[in-house]
């Protein structure tokens, strides 16, 4: 059997940061990724990564922590948030020392730009390809350290034996073999689940795999109802226009040419936090001041030079998708599904309630983002908690002897996948997938109502049954992406189900979760996390988990 001290599932930023740390500590580490690590969706991150370096203004880690707590609408865990903000400057310096390329100030220090919800210019960046340069830096370090990479291996299930995590079952996509990989500690870093929505800024690989694998193995998912809608996405294909654009001074205007944001956020305007801006845009559109379901992102006054220097990628993406050159014309944009605040429940070291299982990055819920993530905090989360989870996993691995692999899991996974390949005459994957995506758009969108959420829940229940009957065109072993697409759909259905269930239960409006029938935040009743537990062939079991408050009591949230 293949085995390692530490097995990292995921080769994006969180996964590679964890793998590099474990390798630096001298452990035997394996890293599994269903796509080549440099293809991971982290590479699409544009705007930047937060840290109170204080290069431009006297910023402090305390201010960073407070902004994050406020951004989270007071449901982030403050002990984790304080640690997160304190670790940030060193995390950036470490990346820089590893060779990461950052935009610079004239004096040679790392440049920082303003971002939504932040009280200082705190976001470090490399023009608008920040995710790419960090991803490449970590890939370089993985190569330097000769990290064993299982490239294009697709994990299908987590092994838990007598309450202890012990690795995963995975499909080698290239040749179709299904193997067990045993490990003392398993770290999930599988990214977000944006593909449960019909339209999203997320790439086609963001399918919630780790969340679902952990959930099915008995680990709770936390706060799944908090789904972030980014204020500036292209209507046709959902592609993102970074918040860095507004950070650099771009305006949001409606059909009348008004900068409408100051009506909704008198101080911060365009740089209020994302939930606030997305709701404002949707209101403008709903009240008839949009054009074709869009408002506009106006960069013109920044001038060609600044656009080409700081935002060249998004200019080209908009040009490719719409034919509009942001240098000369405002770009039509609409709020779009973007980020998963919830995920696998972990403590502030990345440990889940099951010993030997860790999670980091977008698939995890630590929770530092609470009900709404601030721009630039997610890349930071991958770097900080990627490292911390590896440290703690390493300590743990040193203390235990290799656990047993779940005796039945390999066989049951082989037969499950075999049956999926053999099935004939069922529905196509895309039919079920698209219906799920539409149910989520309706049920779990920016504005939510119990009736539509319930419709979504019923639809997902039905789709889960239909999913059992799907059949594939590709019956082969070699590079069967029909099969991986079907497995991903199975994961997404779990994500969709827990999201809608949480959205129905939480009777208040907080952060990105807006219930039209409960328009206010209700700290009395709802200042708590939603915990969803798996029950085979039944709806998820929902419960509460306490929020950790250190020094910031909830206040009204105005920007």
């Amino acid at each position: 059997m293949l085995q390692h001290d530490i097995l990292v599932v995921g080769g994006g930023l969180a996964g590679m940061r964890a793998a590099v740390e474990a390798a630096e500590l001298g452990l035997d580490v394996g890293m599994l990724s269903k796509i080549h690590p440099v293809r991971s969706h982290s590479g699409a991150a544009q705007g930047g990564i937060n840290a109170a370096l204080g290069n431009r203004e006297d910023d402090t880690t305390d201010a960073h922590a407070f902004d994050t707590v406020k951004g989270s609408d007071y449901i982030g865990d403050q002990d984790a948030i304080e640690l997160f903000a304190e670790e940030a400057p060193q995390a950036i310096i470490w990346l820089e020392h590893m060779g990461c390329i950052f935009s610079r100030m004239d004096d040679g220090r790392i440049a920082q730009r303003p971002f939504g919800g932040a009280s200082f210019p705190r976001t470090c960046y490399c023009a608008d390809v920040t995710g790419l340069v960090i991803l490449h830096t970590l890939w370089e370090q993985c190569q330097r350290l000769n990290v064993k990479v299982y490239e294009e291996w697709f994990a299908t299930a987590l092994s838990v034996q007598t309450g202890v995590g012990s690795g995963v079952v995975a499909l080698n996509v290239t040749d179709g073999t299904i193997e067990a990989i045993r490990a003392k500690a398993t770290i999930f870093a599988t990214g977000g689940a944006g593909r449960s929505f019909y339209k999203t800024t997320n790439g086609l690989s963001s399918t919630g795999d780790g969340m679902s694998m952990a959930y099915r193995a008995g680990i709770p998912l936390l706060d799944m109802e908090f789904v972030q809608f980014h204020p500036t996405t292209l209507k046709s294909n959902g592609v993102l226009m970074t918040e860095g654009a507004r950070g650099e001074g771009a305006y949001l205007i409606n059909a009348l040419g008004e900068r409408f944001m100051f009506k909704y956020a008198p101080t911060k305007g365009e740089l209020a936090s994302r939930d606030v801006v997305s709701r404002a845009e949707q209101t403008e559109i709903n009240e008839g001041r949009g054009v074709d379901g869009c408002v506009f992102l106006d960069l013109r006054h920044l001038g060609k030079q600044k656009i080409m220097e700081r935002l060249p990628q998004i200019r080209e993406l908009a040009l490719d998708a719409t034919g509009i050159d942001a240098i000369d014309e405002p770009v039509p944009i609409t709020p779009g599904m973007h980020y998963w605040m919830g995920g696998i429940q972990t403590d502030k070291h990345g440990a889940t309630p099951v010993p030997g299982v860790y999670a980091a990055g977008e698939c995890a819920c630590v929770s530092v983002h609470g009900a709404n993530r601030l721009g630039g905090n997610s890349l930071l989360e991958t770097i900080v908690f990627g490292k911390l989870s590896a440290r703690h996993a390493a300590d743990y691995a040193a203390r235990i002897s290799a656990p047993d692999f779940n005796a039945n899991l390999l066989e049951s996974e082989r037969s499950r996948i075999g049956a999926m390949l053999a099935n004939k005459g069922g529905e196509r994957v895309n039919v079920v997938r698209d219906e799920m995506g539409k149910a989520m758009m309706e049920g779990a969108g920016i504005y939510r109502l119990p009736a539509t959420i319930q419709v979504g829940i019923n639809r997902i229940r039905e789709l889960k049954q239909r999913y059992k009957q799907i059949s594939l065109d590709d019956k082969g072993r070699v590079f069967n992406t029909d099969l991986t697409g079907a497995l991903e759909l199975g994961f997404l259905l779990d994500v969709a189900e827990t999201t809608l269930a949480g959205a129905l239960r939480r009777e208040e409006s907080r952060g990105a979760h807006t219930r039209l029938d409960f328009p206010d935040r209700d700290d009395e009743k709802w200042m708590k996390h939603t915990q969803a537990r798996y029950r085979p062939d039944a709806d998820p079991e929902l419960g509460d988990k306490q929020v950790t408050v250190t020094k910031w009591q909830p206040q009204a949230r105005v920007y």
């Binding site: 969706h41 310096i93 020392h97 590893m98 890939w139 072993r477 070699v478 029909d482």
Partner: protein, 368 residues
């Protein structure tokens, strides 16, 4: 819009050789080639295999050959492709077509595998388009990228590509012990790293490179630009000399400066960075090789007389004391002499040669 896609298929579990299958599909106007392929996979044939992830030209997964031109399927709108190449779907403008269609056959040496190599001419099967109503806007021919073995359909095995990148040590070797804060770097110094930083390892350039197709020892454009040049020019790196030696060992100078790789979807333009890498190796004194000697002697003779002094170039390139090498070109020299074609051994400088020297001076002072 209705479009006809002719897709190269190959399933190693069933097929002896690749073949072409046609699909007529109805996709929204403005669709990219990737969207059309996804449509086929969803609605028609789930076994059609290709890589994709970001669908926004940043992950580098979806490189393929489209009407003979290699690039990212997610960044290639069908209409644009057809207007470039006409409705027939056959390239009118041939340059990339010629480069890529001959590429990659039987030149893999040790890297060759039993799997067919992308780019081999494939017979078109007689499979009729599955729908025939309506008028199609044209034909898009889609095949795998070149210079790498096919795994299945449009998926190739990129192992060699990654190995070559790794051969150039793609990580920073710090010049100085890490300070408490960031290493300082000026905006101008960072600016030099900007072009290679945009590389997404998509392999389009590698697929287009004619030298890679005939000589697997050539490290290739992406590795030189993204790894070689990027670290040669990083002010924080302390291994410039060693890097210069490595990149020359990996056959930097085999680049034929054909500009094919300038067709990079991310505007990295590897060719230009290759030229600058050549300069960097000379700066580091890694000159004991034919490539550097050739470049230097050509420049020297022009500086001296304003002419490319051909009589100097051969001995200059081979080395004046390389008796074996020189004797091997003797017969050529003799034949030239007999036919009265021997270039003059001594040339008089052109009038105002100083102006030419000024041009050199200006060019040499300019750094990217």
């Amino acid at each position: 819009m209705l479009v006809n896609l002719e897709v190269q298929r190959f399933n190693p579990e069933q097929d002896a050789a690749p073949h072409v299958e046609s699909f007529e599909v109805d996709v929204p106007d403005g669709s990219t080639v990737l969207e059309a392929l996804m449509h086929i996979k969803d609605e028609r044939d789930g076994s059609l295999s290709f890589r994709r992830s970001c669908r926004s030209a940043i992950c580098g997964s979806c490189t393929m050959s489209m009407n003979g031109l290699d690039g990212l399927a997610c960044k290639t709108p069908i209409r644009q492709l057809l207007s470039q190449f006409g409705e027939s779907g056959v390239a009118d403008a041939k340059p990339h077509e010629t480069i890529s269609s001959h590429a990659g056959q039987a030149h893999f040496g040790a890297a060759a595998t039993a799997a067919p190599v992308a780019g081999a001419a494939v017979p078109s099967s007689s499979v009729a388009p599955k729908t025939t109503n309506g008028k199609s806007v044209g034909t898009v021919r889609v095949g795998p990228m070149h210079n790498l073995p096919i795994v299945k359909d449009l998926v190739v095995d990129m192992t060699r590509f990654w190995e070559k990148n790794k051969s150039l040590k793609p990580w920073l070797v710090p010049k100085n012990a890490p300070p408490a804060r960031e290493y300082p770097q000026s905006p101008e110094e960072m600016e030099r790293l900007w072009r290679p930083a945009n590389c997404i390892f998509c392999g389009t350039c590698y697929s287009l490179c004619p030298v890679v197709s005939v000589d697997d020892t050539f490290v290739g454009p992406a590795a030189i630009a993204r790894v070689g040049y990027r670290f040669l020019e990083d002010t924080r790196d302390g291994a410039r000399k060693e890097r210069a030696e490595t990149i020359v060992e990996q056959n930097l100078w085999l680049c034929a400066h054909c500009y094919a790789c300038s067709y990079c979807p991310k505007h990295v333009d590897p060719h230009e960075l290759i030229a600058l890498s050549c300069v960097a190796t000379i700066e580091e004194g890694v000159t004991d090789n034919t490539g550097a000697r050739h470049a230097m002697v050509v420049a020297d003779t022009i500086k001296k007389t304003g002419f490319l002094e051909e009589s100097q170039v051969i001995p200059g390139t081979l080395g004046y004391f390389n008796l074996i090498g020189l004797s091997s070109v003797m017969p050529l020299g003799l034949r030239l002499l007999l036919k009265g074609k021997m270039p003059p051994l001594l040339m008089r400088p052109v009038p105002r040669v100083t102006e030419i020297r000024e041009i050199f001076k200006a060019a040499e002072a300019k750094r990217y």
